[in-house]
Amino acid sequence: MIEVSDLHKQFGSVVAVDGVSFRAKDGVITGLLGPNGAGKTTTLRCLYTLMRPDRGGVRVDGIDAIADPGAVRRRLGVLPDARGLYKRLTARENIAYFGRLHGLDEATIATRSAAAIAALGMAEFADRRAEGFSQGQRVKTAIARALIHDPTNVILDEPTNGLDVMATRAMRDFLRNLRADGRCVLFSSHIMQEVAVLCDRIVVIARGRVVADESPDALREQTGEANLEDAFVRLIGTDEGLAA
């Protein structure tokens, strides 16, 4: 479970995150929805302890991210916005490197990466060097290495960015499987349809603030719009008094 309370982060005079609070529960897919520049990536970076919030708190499975970032990172599987691979290493070597950094032993790394390679359909390119991988192959490898330590919480920043239709569908199935395992899945997106088909709960962020935190149905009801896209436009276009 991931809990965020009153998160603030400022870069110089630019306020990126201005009091974000939400909760992502286990066994639930939570979507962080917002237009580009709304503060999604910064919020997530504070979550996975890459950045230190100016104010506010983050707790993962009850552990304070600021007090004990190491323990929090062990409980998180993260697919950041930056998902570069080591091009001179094979996909399998890329995955094993992160396994070792998590302190896993070689036998565990071997069995887990074999399982991930099977689950993500990576067998065909697993032992090829990452140089020249397609976007889909890169994302699959990045996900496999992010989950090598079998984390209970999974954070993905725009996971379907740059993927074709087939790969996007595969990604959705994969996220549903993570939910079925009882994990807490939190992902960000600026694409309405994506959030609509996947999420059990939607947190809409605009200008660094949460403007809605509902189930898809409640969101439609709240805004009085029949389809989610209109609801979304309405939410981010109006000021916070209406949205709250």
């Binding site: 990172r73 062990r74 993260v78 998902r83 001179r88 950094l101």
Partner: protein, 391 residues
Amino acid sequence: MRSIVTVFAKELKDSLRDRRTVINTLVTGPLLAPLLFVLLINTVVTRELEKGEKPMVLPVSGAQYAPNLVAALRQADVKIELAPADPERAVREQDADVVLRITPHFADAWNKGQTAQVEVIYDESQSDSRSAARRLHALLDGLSARTGALRLVARGLSPSLQQPIVVAERDQSTPQSRSGVLFAMLPYFFIIGAFIGGMAIAIDTTAGERERQSLEPLLVNPVPRWKILAGKLATTTTFALATVLLSVLAFAVVGHLMPTDRIGMTLDIGVTFVVRTLVVMLPLAALIASVQTLVAAFAKSYREAQTYVSLLMLVPIVPVLLLSFLPYKAQLWMYAVPLMGQQIVIARLVRGDAVPAVALAACFVCTALVAIVACVVTARIYRSERLAISA
């Protein structure tokens, strides 16, 4: 410790698979300087030796005024030629190395037993002309001394009257220490070797990793940043040291290929030389690696990092070149200064001079301390939030 080793092993494997880095740091870097050296020294030495062995060709103006002198020069294996019309111009334009001019007054003064003057026209700024003039001067001095002695004997006096003092030179140099002059640049090559060896890796593991978007995922792992940095620094240091080692070994081989013994010099790079050089270079390599990493981590892009780290290479040039050419007497504090200490130790090893153990220890310990400070500073910088973010 385990995570440091993990990072080190991965960076090592990754870098060794990069053919361009391997060629630049482990082949071109260490081998280029020794090859240039062999080429340069072979050419210079062979040319000098050939000139010394060949009979001298001497244009003489006014040979008719001093037939005796000309005959004596011929006997000394000098080939006499007719001088060009304008000897000064011929020398200036390098048509002749040296020209001997004998004036009409010569015969008169010579016959009266007075001091007779000849002119040697040469150009001090041209090495060929300079050496030819020296050679001619020595020949003429010899002739002059011999004639003087004969004249004294003819008047019933001892020739030793003419030379109240005779100098006996006792040169304390050895073939190896003389080579120190020729190989003054050697320490510089080793130090630059460490820079070249570390450069590509320092950039690749920081600015490069960020530009390839793999730094952020790496830092999300539950490993303290300083440990990740330590693994990367260890890789950079390893490459820097490997370049130095290869460079030293290359010079050891090259020492045997150069005709230095023919000019009374030897370049003797043995096991003690290699071990001591590596001992003093180890902390310097770590220091260089850490400063390169610091500079590269600051840069916004790979290209910017390349520019900064290349500029960094100019830092050792001034002190090292100054020490190479200025005479100095080594003091203990000099060994303690990073770069300077390595320069002095290696220069003394090249000359075959002993390096006191305390000096060696001062060099190692002080450079190591500075390296540790540099690593700590780099680790602090590495904690910055900005570092991980690529865009």
